[in-house]
């Protein structure tokens, strides 16, 4: 299968007020297959929106290359085949839902009221077609945005936080719409903080941190390796804390004699249980948990941050020499 999106060393550098240069997107190598739902994840300020804007030709890369549907970024022919739902968008407030769709359709040279009507129905706005955008709620604005992004039957959709600010029902509706896009053979590139949604619908994900990829791959591969949560009562604090040294991969929490130990499932837990019983602790529960995207995310970022800090320190040292 062909790549829908491919970037090679894509980099965007901004100058700060102080004159320092910050690589907001730093040698990014992304690979998105046609027909898949791709989750683009990362903490606030990681560079997700900046990357999307570069792929759309709204801002220009400082260096590196990017290809969208096989063409170099900025190619106008590609703009007929893609669409973009920006984060926190704002549409012309004086226009009605129907007028907005007509306007965006005209930018593609499309004149088709029936299609606009169908799209309004698709996003559940048919009965609000004559209200102006200023009368729309946040969720309705997000849905009109989704409708306008479907006007050209795009092959590739860029959705930047498509469910931001939506209620749970609207959330599910949008999730279902995105799944429907995959059925129709469209590629979806989704930036989102809703990890449970991403986990449910995405085929592959990339987690970026400070402009660099910290993890990228098929979701089921990345989520290999679950965790086990052990809860035990009647223990002393020093003993509980000793696990921090003996089990570096464990997350230890302790309060009022209760120890909660969260360990990777590849560890043999019998010695742990024995040790607890030796100290006269009572094991209250042992709960195996399959790995969640949330765990992967926190793990990836918390491993990546010190690594980046070390690299930065090393580079500084190198520079000062």
């Amino acid at each position: 299968m062909a790549a829908a999106i491919e970037t090679i060393n894509l980099t965007k550098t901004y100058k700060t007020r102080g004159g320092a240069r910050v690589d907001v997107v730093d040698n990014l190598d992304l690979h998105v297959e046609e027909g898949e739902i791709f989750g683009f994840l990362g903490p606030n300020g990681a560079g997700k929106t900046t990357t999307i804007k570069m792929l759309l030709g709204i801002i220009y890369p400082t260096s590196g290359e990017g290809f969208v549907l096989g063409k170099e970024i900025g190619d106008m022919d590609v703009h007929r085949l893609i669409s973009y739902l920006p984060e926190k968008p704002y549409y012309y407030e004086h226009m009605t839902g129907m007028e907005i769709l007509r306007f965006y359709a005209s930018l593609f040279g499309i004149k088709d009221d029936e299609k606009c009507q169908r799209l309004l129905e698709k996003v559940n706005l048919a009965s609000d077609a004559t209200k102006t955008i200023s009368q729309y709620s946040k969720g309705m604005q997000q849905r009109i945005g989704l409708a306008q992004s479907l006007l050209n039957d795009p092959k590739l959709l860029f959705l930047d936080e498509p469910t931001g600010g939506l209620d749970p029902i609207a959330h599910i509706e949008i999730r279902d719409l995105i799944l429907q896009f995959r059925e129709e053979g469209k590629t979806c590139f989704i930036s989102s903080h809703e990890l449970s949604d991403v986990e449910r619908i995405c085929d592959r994900v990339a987690i970026i941190n400070k402009g660099r990829i910290a993890a990228q791959g098929p979701l089921d591969e990345l989520l290999k390796g679950g965790r086990i949560e052990i809860t035990a009562n009647g223990l002393e604090e020093p003993f509980a804390h000793s696990f921090r040294d003996t089990l570096p991969s464990a997350i230890v929490s302790f309060s009022h004699g209760r120890l909660i130990l969260d360990v990777p499932d590849e560890i043999d837990i019998n010695p742990i249980l024995d040790a607890i019983r030796d100290k006269n602790g009572q094991v209250a529960s042992v709960i195996p948990r399959r790995k969640r995207l949330e765990d992967l995310f926190v793990e990836t970022i918390s491993e990546d941050d010190p690594k980046r800090a070390r690299e930065d320190a090393a580079r500084k040292k190198e520079e000062s020499k």
Binding site: H79, Y90, S106, F108, N152
Partner: protein
């Protein structure tokens, strides 16, 4: 072309709903309506003074509208991220900029047409309908003002591609004042053989490079003393072509900057 027209018509729709513009327009119209009551001169003088005054009101109001309308146009699109939803479609940046400009000019035209209608009504009420042909002649000055304001809007759009709205407000406003008040002054210096070379050079330079807004103040011989108009219609055509050329240059400059710019 469709794309440009779509963007332009949407811009008109937005502009004629902007409260601040409507308020400025309303103030202008109010002044026009009460202007006849403000003069205490003999009937003969009154007419000349009144014409000068009302045309002045139209010109000032239009200039303020032209600047306020255009300095925020591009920055607002960027701040509200509406521009992203447009530029990710098959829309080139130049199409966007030209569409925005044409929309601004159309909105400006609508508002100026409204003021001109009020002007004609005021005179018709005051002096009777029997002088209708004279009233139509009155509307010629606003037509020239429209070319002037289109040029002013192009100046503001050009600056809006790289300076903030506030700076732009003073830049465009300042250029308008200099271009309409000092142009004849520059002309005098540059054509006077006795003026120092440096001043002469500067005046010639300023006179050539700055948009000559004074061209369009045809009704005002006080501001434009040197202007001897032998053939009126040729003069109108000439300054209109000058305006269009200048607008074209400004738009091309704006596009070149806007194309490279991050939005």
């Amino acid at each position: 072309m469709r794309v440009i027209l779509s963007i332009a018509s949407t811009t008109v729709g937005e502009a004629i709903r902007r409260r601040v513009l409507l308020i400025i327009l309303l103030i202008g119209v109010l002044f026009l309506a009460v202007a006849p009551g403000l003069t205490v001169l003999s009937a003969r003088q009154e007419r000349t003074v009144l014409i000068g005054m009302t045309l002045g009101i139209i010109q000032l109001t239009s200039a303020v509208i032209a600047i306020v309308l255009t300095v925020y146009m591009i920055p607002n699109e960027i701040e509200r991220r509406t521009i992203y939803t447009i530029l990710c479609k098959p829309v080139q940046r130049w199409q966007f900029l030209v569409g925005k400009y044409l929309g601004a000019v159309a909105a400006l035209g609508l508002m100026m047409a409204l003021m001109t209608i009020v002007l004609v009504l005021v005179f018709a009420l005051q002096q009777g309908v029997q002088q209708m042909d004279q009233l139509v002649l009155l509307a010629k000055a606003p037509a020239m003002f429209f070319v002037q304001m289109s040029l002013l809007a192009a100046v503001a759009i050009f600056f809006s591609t790289f300076v903030s709205p506030l700076v732009n407000f003073f830049l465009s406003g300042g250029l308008y004042l200099v271009g309409s008040l000092f142009n004849s002054f520059f002309e005098v210096i540059s054509s006077n053989p006795n003026s120092p070379a440096l001043a002469k050079g500067f005046a010639t330079f300023a006179n050539t490079i700055l948009p000559n807004f004074a061209n369009y103040n045809v009704q005002n011989p006080i501001i434009n003393p040197g202007q001897i108009i032998e053939n009126e219609s040729i003069y109108y055509v000439r300054v209109t072509i000058y305006g269009l050329l200048y607008i074209g240059i400004l738009l091309v400059g704006g596009i070149v900057i806007f194309d490279r710019r991050e939005v």
